[in-house]
Each structure stands twice: as structure tokens, then as C-alpha cells.
């Protein structure tokens, strides 16, 4: 295992120290491993809390700040945080306008956030509403599974819900906006290499020099199928086609197009992929309203990428364009 770390057991805590040192505008509750917006709680504003296993940076801690999240809970690598963390985060951002929990659809995340909501209800009067993202079309027949995984859409949802909250909209509106984004978003990912959980010490799976995994998640899970390496053009088709046909996205639809890096793939390849994705969308008469290219929801050092499309209306685009000031997404301010 080749990593810039000291001890697998303390990776998350040490990274949080680095985030705190690099971003004076944020607060970090080290005991609960929560990254908090510096001026939280913002009274009268709905508080946005997300979180999940670590190893997906910048998600979620890199999205804390004005216009996006109020707090992010960092679990162990690829392991959902515990209810105590979400409870602490919920209390820290409670501005008397309720708190929204943004949860990626993984059994562990869902159950821990559930318990946190139960505890919050019991311990504090704060209203908590939860939205779950489940945009990964790689998960088939989701009726007979834990459901689809929450992946790329989470980034877009946190941005848009964050903007809605910043505008002072009430909890239910913000939650509705969030659900709308998830309902209109789909993603699909692939990997050229596996990744190594620091505490495990070896790659989660092995891939041959001439193989790739299609339909992977963001936890180094093996994907739906293993296929021979293919040119970027074909990889783009393998990712975009299932997304487009699933929602479906049709001629004239406007979308936010997001090409995400898995952590080990350099930007030059992501831009090359974006070119292929844009061509395919163009061929389908789908209009790109906004785009995002880069490593925003990663899987440690895994090489690969994912594509996320979110069908948007003008008001969603407006919320996307609204000012945001976080370590990883920043514009308009």
C-alpha cells in the first residue's frame, strides 16, 4: 500500500486537522469528526447536514460553506458515520428553521442517519427531514436490492438545496428541491483500477491490465460487469446510454452534465471524457445547461470516472448558479 499517511487508524482525524488548518473559515469538531460552517448556526436558515464514509473527498467536508452544506460528518474510510456524529452536527447547525439530512442510499448511512433523527427528536425539538439520494443506474432491479446507490447526484443536490436554504426558504421547500434534483438525476460509473482501504492494506479487487469495471460505486465495490478495456468514446457510451434511457432524458431536455473523477484519473482524461459525453448528448438533442468536470465524489485513489446528468428547469439552474463558497465549489462570491 502506497499512501501519504502516518497510520491507517488515524487517516480521517489527521485529514480533518489539515482541513481545519487550510480553511480558517470552517470549524471542525474533532471529537465528533464534523466539519462545520464557521458562522453556524445561521439563525432562521434551514441547516443542511450530510456525511458518509470518508475517502470520497472533497465530498462532503469540501462542500461546507455559504450556499451549500452547514455541516458534514466524516465516517471512517468507506464506513457510514455513527448517529452521535449526525446528532452533534444537527445541534451545531440548528438555526430554528429545521435541519435537512442529506443521505446517500447505503444501508449503513440510512440506518445511522435514521437513528440520529430518532435521537434528535428525543433530545432536541428540532425538525429533521431526510432526503436520500439514489441515482446510480448501475444497480438494476432495485426493488429486490437495497435500492440504488447515492453517487454523483449528491454533489448537485447539496449545491442546489444549499442555495435554496441560503435564500431562506422553509424546510419543506428545501427538502422538495432536494428530492426534485434526486428524482431528475441519474449516474453511472466505471473503474480502470481498484483502490485500497488504508485499514485493509490491499486493493479491494484485482483488475487485469486489459480489463475495466463498469457500474462501480464509490467504495471500491466490484461493479456489475468486467469488460475489456475500451477507448474513451465507447466508455462514454457505456456510461451515458443507460443514464439517458433510464430517466429517460429526451430531445430538448436541459441538463447539468457532470463528469466526475474517481480520484486517480487526471484532469486531462476527464476533459477528454467530457468531450465524448458532450458529443453523445448533442447527438441525442439534450442541451447542456451547465457542466462540472473534476474529482468531486471520489473513491480514494481509484482510476476511473462517472457521469451524472440532472434534468433541470430554469429555477434549478438559477439555484446552481447562486453564490457558493466552499473549499471545493466556489463561485459568485
Amino acid at each position: 500500500m502506497k499512501k501519504l499517511i502516518n497510520d491507517p487508524a488515524t487517516v480521517v482525524n489527521e485529514a480533518l486537522l489539515g482541513i481545519e488548518a487550510a480553511h480558517p473559515e470552517l470549524r471542525v469538531d474533532h471529537e465528533n469528526k464534523v466539519v462545520i460552517r464557521g458562522d453556524a448556526p445561521v439563525s432562521g436558515k434551514v441547516g443542511l447536514v450530510s456525511g458518509g464514509g470518508s475517502g470520497h473527498e472533497p465530498l462532503h467536508g469540501g462542500f461546507v460553506g455559504p450556499g451549500m452544506l452547514d455541516a458534514a460528518c466524516a465516517g471512517e474510510v468507506f464506513t457510514s458515520p455513527v448517529p452521535d456524529q449526525m446528532l452533534a452536527a444537527t445541534k451545531a447547525v440548528d438555526g430554528d428553521a429545521g435541519v435537512l439530512h442529506i443521505v446517500k442510499n447505503y444501508t449503513g448511512d440510512v440506518m445511522n442517519f435514521e437513528m440520529a433523527a430518532e435521537l434528535a427528536a428525543a433530545e432536541t425539538g428540532v425538525d429533521v427531514v431526510s432526503v436520500v439520494t439514489d441515482d446510480d443506474v448501475a444497480v438494476k432491479d432495485s426493488l429486490y436490492t437495497a435500492g440504488r446507490r447515492g453517487v454523483g447526484v449528491t454533489v448537485v443536490l447539496e449545491k442546489i438545496a444549499g442555495a435554496a436554504a441560503e435564500q431562506g426558504r422553509p424546510l419543506n421547500d428545501v427538502a422538495e428541491m432536494a428530492k426534485l434534483v434526486n428524482a431528475n438525476g441519474r449516474s453511472m460509473g466505471m473503474a480502470l483500477t481498484s483502490c485500497t482501504v488504508p485499514a485493509a492494506g490491499k486493493p479491494t479487487f484485482e483488475l487485469g491490465e486489459d480489463e475495466m469495471e463498469i457500474g462501480i460505486g464509490i467504495h471500491g465495490e466490484p461493479g456489475r460487469e468486467r469488460v475489456p478495456l475500451a477507448p474513451a468514446k465507447q466508455v462514454a457510451e457505456m456510461l451515458v446510454e443507460p443514464i439517458v434511457s433510464d430517466l429517460p432524458f429526451g430531445r430538448g431536455d436541459g441538463v447539468i452534465a457532470f463528469v466526475n473523477g474517481m480520484g486517480g484519473t487526471p484532469l486531462i482524461e476527464l476533459y477528454l471524457m467530457y468531450n465524448e459525453v458532450a458529443r453523445i448528448l448533442d447527438g441525442n438533442g439534450i442541451q447542456v445547461a451547465r457542466s462540472l468536470v473534476g474529482p468531486y465524489i471520489t473513491s480514494l485513489e481509484m482510476a476511473g470516472c462517472s457521469v451524472t446528468l440532472v434534468k433541470v428547469t430554469d429555477d434549478l439552474v438559477e439555484l446552481w448558479d447562486a453564490p457558493v463558497k466552499t473549499p471545493a465549489l466556489r463561485w459568485g462570491v
Binding site: E76, S80, T204
Partner: protein
């Protein structure tokens, strides 16, 4: 002869489970690498290590209810993932069912274990055959009930429970996962033993050793 289970025995069960988890940590993580995200052994070991520390540092644990509440809360607060809430809820419900006692008979123990299992189901909605810890726990508790109903003692009952848990665990290998991360793999989950069922079989084995 009395089959009554003492508080000391219950503690020994928890400590024995922690020891088995520590010993099988790599194995559990490797199983999770195949159909999950390679952390089950790491998660359970982190949790049970925290539990041991909690038991040592707390001398108010003078009843089964208090003991298992502590175990459950500690797991919930330290494990995370799917197994944290599931094992945590198991012990929390187990403790509530045992009540404020410092010893209990086999039937009460069996009832309490069933309550714990119900907690797992309430939290995770697993059904038989979903390829989860349920597939090891449920047969084990059924076997214990049957043994006690047919007049056997706790030792025999626990022995039957271990056999049932381990064949339940082995039976998860051919199953197609319908819960948890493994379910994302679809057909590719077939042919791999479920990590949670494997740790649950250790839980039953530890119980047999300490209480049987």
C-alpha cells in the same frame, strides 16, 4: 443442576465475542472485500474493542439490562456502517428484554435473544434468504427454542444453536444478496459467504462457550 445464566456469564459472552472478532478480523474483511467494501472485520473489531473498554471503565453494569444497553450504545456509537446499527439494536433490544436482573433462566435468555433478532429485522427489514446476518441468527435462535421446548438444557440448546448458525452462515454462500452492499452486485454476489452472517455465527459460538 441449574441452567441459570449469571451476569458474569453474560459478560464472558461479550468478551468472548470480542476475542473471536479480533481473531477473525482479516477473514471478515476479506469476505466483505469480495461482495462489499472491505471493512466488516475492521468495523466489528473497532466496535468490540470499544465495548471491552466500556465494560472495564463502567462498574454500574449490575444488571443484564444495563450491561447490554452499554454494549449496544457503544456499538452504535463506534461502528458505523450497516453492522453498527444492526448489532447495536440487537444488544439494545436484548437488554430491554432481559430486564433489571443479574441472572436469568434459559427460556428468558431465548426470549431475549429473539427480541434482539426482532430488533435487527425492525432496523434492517431483512428476510430469510436475503444473505445477511439474519440467515445465521434466526436459525440459531429457532434451534435454541426447539431444543429447550423438547426438554433439553441450555448446553444442548446452545450446541444446537451453534450448529444452526454455522450451517445458516454456510447457506449464505449460494444466495443472491437482496440487502446491503452485496445486493448491488446482483448475480455476482452468488458464491460468496456473507460477512455479517459470519460474524453472527461467531456471536452464537461465543454464547455457547460462555453460557452453554
Amino acid at each position: 443442576m441449574t441452567d441459570a445464566v449469571t451476569l458474569a456469564g453474560l459478560r464472558a459472552w461479550v468478551q468472548g465475542f470480542a476475542a473471536l472478532v479480533a481473531e477473525q478480523k482479516e477473514k471478515l474483511t476479506a469476505l466483505d472485500a469480495a461482495i462489499g467494501d472491505a471493512d466488516h472485520g475492521i468495523n466489528m473489531d473497532r466496535g468490540m474493542t470499544a465495548v471491552l473498554a466500556a465494560l472495564d471503565s463502567d462498574d454500574t453494569l449490575t444488571s443484564a439490562a444495563a450491561l447490554f444497553k452499554k454494549v449496544g450504545m457503544t456499538l452504535v456509537s463506534s461502528v458505523g456502517g450497516a453492522s453498527g446499527p444492526l448489532y447495536g439494536t440487537f444488544f439494545l433490544r436484548l437488554g430491554m428484554a432481559c430486564g433489571d436482573v443479574d441472572s436469568l433462566g434459559p427460556e428468558d435468555l431465548a426470549k431475549a435473544l429473539r427480541a434482539g433478532l426482532d430488533g435487527v429485522v425492525a432496523r434492517g427489514k431483512a428476510e430469510a434468504g436475503d444473505k445477511t446476518m439474519y440467515d445465521a441468527l434466526a436459525p440459531a435462535i429457532d434451534a435454541l427454542d426447539d431444543a429447550l421446548d423438547s426438554g433439553n438444557g441450555l448446553r444442548e440448546g446452545m450446541a444446537a444453536a451453534v450448529t444452526a448458525a454455522e450451517s445458516g452462515r454456510d447457506a449464505t454462500t449460494p444466495m443472491l444478496a437482496r440487502k446491503g452492499r452485496a445486493s448491488y452486485l446482483g448475480e455476482r454476489s452468488v458464491g460468496h459467504q456473507d460477512p455479517g452472517a459470519t460474524s453472527s455465527a461467531l456471536l452464537i459460538r461465543a454464547a455457547a462457550t460462555a453460557l452453554g
